[in-house]
């Protein structure tokens, strides 16, 4: 997709988002949902950069999200670091962890990368609950309960000030979306795609597989860590329960609904899936089953997600194909 089209889709999606508080601004529960849309859009997009663009089957995205959230939360609670600074430190910490996880993955073929990264995900929960976690200040099986909200020049962005907090989230999410867009459309993104398509050919033309694959890990885990940290300060409480498979699978659904490798489809996917999931709330216990069935149907009907569907429609209409 051309940069212009990408920018237009991102602009429209975030533009509509920006208008929604005018309709529902006084309903706190709906505002919370909108904020979660903006947060999951970033995580799903990072995952898409990793899987769809770089072709690295990493299943560590939720783990990096939780690492960022805990890192910033612990810094703020235990070490009294001011939240904006703690979020940045958490981003750098997660980027470092991303590189550490990425290093062994460079030498591994696809399925093994999936195993290693999912191993990180699986190991994180016992670590946070266990002695290491408690020593670091993770709160053990209780989790973190008193994460302070973001405070900028004395103004507190908490759920008590939901509309301003929404717009701050919108800005952070949009900034992440734009960073991802520019990376994808730069020669970094071309290097990711070339390595995914044919690593040998790419290397023979001067691309360092080592450098660019580590860069994918660093970039996606940095942004995921930042947004995870942001989430922690917004929500105020954190639990290792986030590492249960619910969040993991719903993020994957967002990415698939948007269309793997069809950024910014993952943003649309996140918005649609959160909205769909809330609309199905009356189904109660049947929601998960219905959701699962819908996903199967959707993936079979639209293998490239909504973005792939619209791109195909657009190219079918164009005379040159």
């Amino acid at each position: 997709m051309r940069l212009k089209h990408m920018a237009i889709i991102i602009g429209v999606a975030y533009g509509i988002m920006a208008l929604l508080p005018l309709l529902v601004g006084d309903i706190r529960f709906l505002m919370n949902i909108l904020i979660m849309c903006l947060i999951w859009a970033v995580v799903a997009s990072c995952w898409d950069v990793m899987m769809g663009f770089a072709g690295i089957f990493s299943f560590g995205q939720v783990a990096f999200f939780v690492m960022g959230a805990y890192c910033s939360g612990i810094l703020a609670i235990e070490h009294h670091v001011t939240p904006v600074l703690s979020i940045l430190i958490a981003g750098l910490f997660t980027a470092g962890m991303g590189v550490l996880v990425g290093l062994p993955c460079l030498r591994l073929a696809g399925p093994y990368v999936a195993l290693v990264t999912f191993g990180v995900h699986m190991a994180l929960q016992p670590t946070l609950r266990g002695e290491i976690g408690i020593a670091l200040g993770s709160g053990g099986s209780v989790g973190l309960l008193t994460i302070p909200p973001i405070n900028i020049f004395g103004y507190s962005f908490s759920s008590a000030n939901i509309v301003p907090t929404f717009y701050l989230t919108l800005l952070v999410s949009l900034a992440c979306a734009l960073v991802i867009m520019f990376v994808i459309k730069s020669y970094w993104g071309v290097a990711f795609l070339a390595l995914k398509d044919s690593q040998d050919f790419a290397m023979s033309l001067g691309i360092s597989a080592f450098k660019y694959k580590l860069m994918v890990f660093a970039l996606t885990s940095f942004l995921t860590g930042i947004i995870g940290a942001y989430y922690g300060h917004f929500y105020g409480v954190l639990s290792f329960r986030m590492l249960d498979l619910d969040l993991f699978s719903i993020l994957m659904v967002m990415m698939l609904v948007g269309g793997l490798g069809h950024y910014p489809g993952s943003i649309i996917g996140a918005f649609l899936v959160v909205a769909g999931s809330e609309l199905m709330a009356p189904l109660g216990a049947y929601r998960a089953v219905t959701m699962g069935a819908l996903v199967v149907i959707l993936v079979l009907a639209l293998p490239n997600g909504v973005m792939g569907f619209f791109l195909k429609r657009a190219s079918d209409r164009a005379p040159s194909g």
Binding site: Y187, A191, A194, D197, A202, S204, G206, I207, A209
Partner: protein, 239 residues
């Protein structure tokens, strides 16, 4: 320009390249031939840094043994692959500019990318996805991307494989033009003896990873040892 000195590569017990030494001089078109499984492609993978090996490879007087592929590409050695490689996510123009952006000293040179696209005659396919090119198109794309790195030496691995007579002719013209007009040294692995005798100035024959003989192509193809080693290969003897 390129010196291969006592190079050996083992895959387990198999010696794919066995104590091989030769030298390619600047400006040459240098041919390499040998039966299937002789170790020709493996030799390319050693020169371009894809595998580790024993021995030494020097390029422009500099030891390049152990260097990673991307560094060897930047140093001025470009190559194509026996099994055509493309970037199905990229257009022809983007794919060729990958070579320029990452492989050429000084980075992306759009004017040069344009020249290369004209040179390999892919102007009409410029905006086409590389995965949709036909076989000849894919081969020209690989050559174009390699040329975009502004190489001193271009190594072609069976560029004519699977091509018909017209396509072979056009590729031979292209290769001669690269050598003559762009002043790029060429190493070519080929099965078609006629291509080698017409195109190359020096020919190296290897079998089981070792040198059988080397020298003037017309003399080499009449060498009794070479004929003997090709007897089991009716396919190559056909011409």
């Amino acid at each position: 320009m390129l010196r291969v000195i006592h190079v050996t590569k083992k895959f387990g017990e198999l010696k794919a390249v066995n104590d091989l030494s030769f030298e390619v001089k600047a400006g040459q078109i240098f041919g390499i031939a040998g039966p299937n499984g002789a170790g020709k492609s493996t030799l390319y993978n050693l020169i371009t840094g894809f595998y580790s090996f024993n021995g030494t490879i020097e390029f422009d007087g500099r030891n390049i043994s152990g260097m990673p592929p991307f560094r060897i590409a930047k140093a001025g050695i470009a190559r194509t692959f026996q099994i055509p490689q493309t970037f199905p996510s990229l257009t022809v123009q983007k794919a060729i500019s990958v070579g320029s952006r990452f492989g050429a000293a000084g980075g992306l040179d759009s004017a040069h990318v344009n020249d290369v696209i004209q040179f390999v005659d892919l102007d009409n396919e410029r905006t086409q996805n590389t995965g949709l090119l036909n076989l000849l198109g894919k081969k020209k794309l690989m050559i174009g991307a390699a040329l975009a790195t502004k190489p001193k030496i271009l190594m072609l691995d069976e560029p004519m494989a699977g091509c018909n007579a017209t396509e072979i002719r056009s590729l031979m013209d292209l290769i001669a033009k690269i050598n003559h007009d762009l002043k790029i040294t060429i190493i070519i692995i080929e099965h078609f003896m006629k291509v080698l005798t017409e195109l190359t100035e020096e020919l190296l024959i290897i079998e089981s990873g070792a040198k059988i003989c080397q020298g003037d192509p017309l003399e080499v193809v009449n060498d009794p040892q070479v004929i003997a080693c090709y007897l089991g290969e009716p396919d190559a003897k056909r011409k």
